[in-house]
Symmetry: C2
Subunit: 516 residues, 2 copies
């Protein structure tokens, strides 16, 4: 196969998302970047350099399992499957760095083919990286040794819908929009809308414990999964005979979040809901993030929760709102978004009003809704301009949220003091006992932006640990969070995970260096 | 120590619950049992026979850790810690069978003492059974080798309340009523009310993935736990920095349900809620179990759910209702109970009415509420009369519920055909995608009731597996369900659990033979 045989979406790798949806930075934003000292970089984007090739014997093995036409080894395909979409990934991609490039891309068509591939890889000394949407932002696709990528896009079926139980069986390679389209034909929705929605797929949602923008209403992806099938080098695991069980530990929750290190999730059974016939989104203004925090905590703890609930801090509100008059005449304050899949709930509005919120109407809500997948597209033009832009996130119990937010912000500002950053923050996932915090950092690139971000990220991770947060609420572990993750759960728990991995994958072919 | 030093609740072991709450069978019930062929047994209840004693060296080790006065070796204490409360356990207890008796009972006072005990037990060849409430009904306290019991009742503290996050840190030995009393002083409730409430404790709830009668409103215990501390022979595991996380698998859900085989849970952080200021319980009548099933599924899937939601089948309704006029003049039908912690929700009632339900008012609701912990007390006098009475439970996705119920009933009736049984069933835990089924079996004992039940239970377990249910929704695995459990998750998953156990407990001192 050659590059020209590849699906269109693979023709422009290393930049986020659907080419048709790409955005240009507004002139005002380009102007604003100058205040941060951002300058257009002079280093050219480089094409990929030389890279090791797969030997004839392992290639024969792969083609014997999936067929000649479903193993590709051309540079374009391999380059398109190199790394994910962290800023560091994008910078390395622009530099033509082929160090994390697969030696081949394999497209199995069934669970059985995946099992067969995994069972044989050890014999051919092939490490395997599972690939569904490729949207990892935490180094989930860059293992610590030479590897082949198993791309699951041919596992793209809605296998079954159980309308009595309201469950659907979806294969791992179904992308977010396809899952919604398939379910919509039957009148249902999954309700999982992460920012990676356009690119990510079912298997990735499961493997990385994804959480979507409608999590207040639909829950996290790990709460949607009631059953799953895992292909391991030693065979198949099938889990989930009931919504909940007391038959031992919940092993579904051991596989969800295992990030391809234990096996490849080939299908899941997920809870589905009737597709809503109406939707309502609106903006609310609070005097301050602290005031908004109390309001969203009130909803999380006493209800009634909307489907979408978000609260930006002062900086994010100011940066994101093109028109500050939205907040009522430049008087400052912060923006919250609420959304309902289904009828508008006046009781939710009453809680917000009682907590000091001011209803801004549907305008800001619709603006958010229509732009909800837009933010990641901004990163490529920002990098083009010479800005360093990246996100990170955490979660904690409510009582720790204010100090955690302050500590992470301070750590980022301090670590990037040579290129003073803007640090934006929002809450977008709430629970009775706590919430997530999502940070966006923008500053000028220095001469070595990869190292520049590594230092800042390390400082932020240490601040998260010290302030009692978790190293990731929904991005996952990958290679980027591995050290912090191990500190978070402790050496003995890491040993237990290694024991599980060794059981399923005794030769360590699966995602070496990712998670554990 | 001698038997007279033991707490009062230990003086009459082998019969369920608080002696002050014990009940006598109504004369009508005794009469009714005759129709099942039940005859008062002639075999006398026997005192415990001889049993092995702990050597001086291991005894010294135990007393060195917890102090002389906190290790007891008298027969009374040991007998009181022998087995749990399955019918088989009670029958063996009545027969004076000492085969599952601990050689000593140890009462540690802290997490550190538990770690020290576990770390030293291998050297002294001591297996350990963790004991909090002792209410297992699935053989959770009968390991496969000689052992000492670690009774956690001295770990009885409410350690902390975080009112902002609405969490409480409770030690493992706090019993249900004590937990509620401690939280009530601060204005909160845990909301966990299993039928074992009076006797079971926090550690047991966690280790066995308990689910309480108010699960529709408060969730299962495993959904309440946001953090936990585990003592293992190799040290301490602390889990839970946020309500939810994408930092790897949810290891809390690997410990919850591990039944003491991985370590001893010494404390948990649980979600708490404001104590309700009002409660409402009422009965509803449906024409048939099938009609009621549709109604409760409607509430589970589209809401609004009450706090308590139960539905008895025709047989259970007839047996449990002393006054059949409750259902409206002997016209048959089945009884459902709904309960609200907080204001009555008319919308719930409207869903039930639309599904063909008839509101019976508060009378049957209050009757259920006041007798909610009474059923287990009936078993002892039933056994006294010569009846065999036992319960079993399962859960499945909604679409499988009718066939699963029929298959289990048929299996029990068939296996017990020599002593035709009554088989009662109810639903008491619902989810969007499925529900639990809880069966009660009553028949005449034959000459070997332990074997009689073993055969019936085996048939029911096979029926559950064949019909796609889980072997336990909230009782757990213990030794009784171990074989069926392993078939349910498969040999490879069992190996993974063994690998986890070996990591935490390399010498296999913890609950050998239970779970795995």
């Amino acid at each position: 196969m050659t590059e020209s045989d590849l699906p269109v979406a693979q023709l422009t790798p290393g930049r986020w998302g659907d080419p048709a949806h790409r955005v240009e930075l507004p002139a005002a934003a380009v102007e604003a970047l100058k205040h941060l000292g951002v300058q257009r970089p002079t280093a050219p984007t480089r094409a990929p350099g030389a890279a090791g090739a797969l030997g004839a014997t392992p290639l024969s093995f792969l083609t014997a399992v999936v067929g000649d036409e479903h193993v590709v080894t051309d540079l374009g395909s391999r380059w398109a499957h190199t790394r994910g979409y962290s800023t560091t990934d994008l910078l390395r991609f622009r530099a033509g760095d082929t160090s994390d490039m697969p030696e081949a891309v394999v497209y199995p068509a069934s669970h059985e083919q995946v099992v067969e591939l995994l069972a044989g890889c050890a014999e051919h000394d092939l490490a395997v990286v599972p690939y569904s949407g490729g949207t990892s932002v935490v180094g989930g696709l860059a293992p610590s040794r030479r590897f082949v990528t198993v791309d699951l896009r041919r596992l793209d079926q809605l296998v079954a819908v159980d309308e009595i139980s309201r469950t659907a069986t979806l294969q791992a390679g179904v992308r977010g929009p396809a899952a919604e389209a398939l379910l919509a034909e039957r009148g249902y929705t999954l309700g999982h809308f992460p920012q990676s929605y356009e690119g990510a797929s079912i298997g990735g949602y499961a493997a990385a414990r994804s959480s979507g923008q409608s999590s207040a209403g639909y829950g996290r992806f790990d709460q949607m999964v009631v059953g799953l099938t895992l292909a391991t080098p030693r065979g198949t695991i099938e889990l989930g005979r009931a919504p909940m069980s007391a038959a031992g530990p919940d092993l579904r929750q051991l596989v969800l979040g295992s990030e391809g290190a234990f096996g490849i999730i080939t299908s899941v059974v997920v809870r589905i809901r009737p597709r809503p016939t109406e939707r309502h989104f609106e903006g609310w203004r609070f005097e301050s993030f602290d005031a908004g925090l109390t309001a969203v905590r009130r909803l999380a703890q006493d209800g009634p929760l909307p489907t979408v609930l978000r609260l930006s801090d002062e900086v994010e509100t100011a940066v994101n709102l093109a028109d500050p008059d939205v907040l009522g005449g430049g008087s400052g304050g912060v923006l919250a978004i609420i959304g309902f899949d289904g009828p508008y709930n006046q009781a939710t509005a009453e809680v917000l009003t009682a907590a000091g919120g001011q209803n801004l109407g549907e305008g800001p809500g619709e603006t958010w809704r229509t732009g909800r997948y837009r933010a990641p597209y901004l990163r490529d033009p920002l990098l083009d301009e010479g800005a360093l832009v990246e996100t990170l996130e955490t979660a904690a119990f409510w009582s720790r949220i204010p100090a955690l937010k302050a500590a992470v912000t301070e750590a980022l500002v301090s670590a990037l003091s040579a290129t003073p950053p803007l640090v934006l923050c929002h809450i977008s996932h709430v629970y009775e006992t706590g919430a997530s915090l999502y940070f966006t950092v923008i500053c000028a690139q220095n001469d070595d932006p990869v190292e520049q971000w590594r230092t800042a990220k390390h400082a932020a991770s240490q601040a998260i640990a010290d302030a009692g947060g978790t190293i990731s609420h929904h991005h996952g572990v990958g290679t980027d969070h591995r050290t912090a993750y191990h500190a978070e759960i402790g050496a003995l728990a890491v040993e237990a995970l290694q024991a599980v991995k060794h059981t399923f994958d005794p030769d360590g072919v699966l995602n070496p260096g990712i998670l554990i």
